[in-house]
Amino acid sequence: MIDLNISRFTPKELYTFAVVCIFCVVTIVGLALSSGGGTLRVGTKHIEGISNLANISNSVYGVYGMYRFYDTLFELLVFSTAALGITLFSDMQSTRGSDSTSSVESHIVDTSASFLYPIIAIFGIYLAYSAHRGPGGGFAGGVIVGSGVLLLAIAIGADVIGERFYEETMKKVEYLILILVMAIVITGLYLPEIVYQGNGGLGFIILVNMAIGTKVFIGTWTVLHFFVKHRGEL
C-alpha cells in the first residue's frame, strides 16, 4: 500500500514535479502525433552524394571526410577545454603526501594489468589506424589506450606511471597536435582534392586519425591521472 499523503512534500517539490510531468506528457503526445511520416532520415542526401565523389572507394571514408571530420574537430575543442581546466587546477594544487597514491597491493590486479595492457594498447592503435575503413576512430582509440594506462596506474601506482610518461612534454605535444589537426582541416576547406582525395584516395586521413588518437590519449591520461591522484579526498 503506497502512502499518497501529499502534505509530506513541500510546495516547491510539488510544483517541480507538476512542471516535469507536463513537459513529459506534452513531448510524448507531440511526438506520437507527428510520427506518421515514417522514419527520419536527415543525412540521406549526403550519403547519396558520396557515390558521386571522384576517387573515393569507401563509403565510411566518404561519410568521415564529408562531415564527421568537422564534428570530430569540435569534439577535440571541447575535450581540450576540459583537459585544460583540469591541468590548470592541478598545477595550482599543492601536491599531497604519497599516502593517497599508493598502489593496490594485489598480485591478481598486478599480473592481469601487465598481461592486459599490451593487448588494450594494440587494440586502441588498431582502431585509430583503421578508422577510415570501418568502425572506430581516433577518439575511441585514444580513450581505450588511456583507460589501459589507467589500469596500469591502479596496479603499480600513479606516480611511477606519471614519471615514466614525461607529463610536461606530453602537454606541449597535445597542443601542437591540436594546431596541426586544425591546420589540416582548414587546408581541406580550400584544397579538398589534395587533403581528402590525394595520395591514392586516402589523403592525410591516417595521419590525422593517429594524431587525434595521440591527443585524446594524452587528454584522457591527464584527466584520469588527476582523479586517481586525488581519490578519496571528498
Binding site: A32, G38, T72, F79, I86
Partner: protein, 120 residues
C-alpha cells in the same frame, strides 16, 4: 522510430531533471545530469532506429543505409558528457575543500555570509 522507446527516453529525462532540481547533494546532482545525458543518447537511437538498416561499411551503394548523422551527434554527446562531468567534479572538489560539505544549501549560506562580511 519507436514510440515506446522515445516515451521511455523522455520519461527518463524527466526523472533526471527532477533529481537535478530537487536533490541537495552535489554528487547526486551530477549523477542526475549524467542520467539526462544518457537518456538523450537513448532518444537519438530510438528516433532513427529502423528495422533492416545496414551500416555503410565496406562497398559503395548499400541500399537502405543507416543515417550517419545521429551517430555523429551521439559521439559528440558522449564526449561533452565526459568533459562536463570531469570539470564539474573538479569544481565540486574545490567547493568541498573550502566549505567541507556537499550540501548545496549550506554552501549557499556560507557564500552569502562571506559576501556580507566582505561588504561591511
Amino acid at each position: 522510430m519507436t514510440t515506446l522507446g522515445t516515451a521511455i527516453a523522455i520519461i527518463t529525462v524527466g526523472i533526471g531533471a527532477l533529481g537535478l532540481i530537487l536533490k541537495k547533494n552535489l554528487i547526486m546532482k551530477l549523477l542526475s545530469l549524467s542520467i539526462i545525458n544518457t537518456s538523450t543518447i537513448l532518444f537519438f537511437v530510438m528516433v532513427v532506429y529502423t528495422p533492416g538498416d545496414r551500416a555503410p561499411i565496406g562497398e559503395l551503394g548499400v541500399t537502405q543505409m543507416a543515417d550517419p548523422l545521429p551517430q555523429a551527434l551521439v559521439l559528440t554527446a558522449v564526449v561533452i558528457n565526459f568533459g562536463v562531468l570531469a570539470l564539474s567534479l573538479l569544481f565540486t572538489m574545490v567547493l568541498v575543500k573550502r566549505y567541507h560539505t556537499l550540501d548545496i544549501q549550506k554552501i549557499e549560506v556560507s557564500v552569502k555570509r562571506e559576501f556580507d562580511e566582505e561588504k561591511l
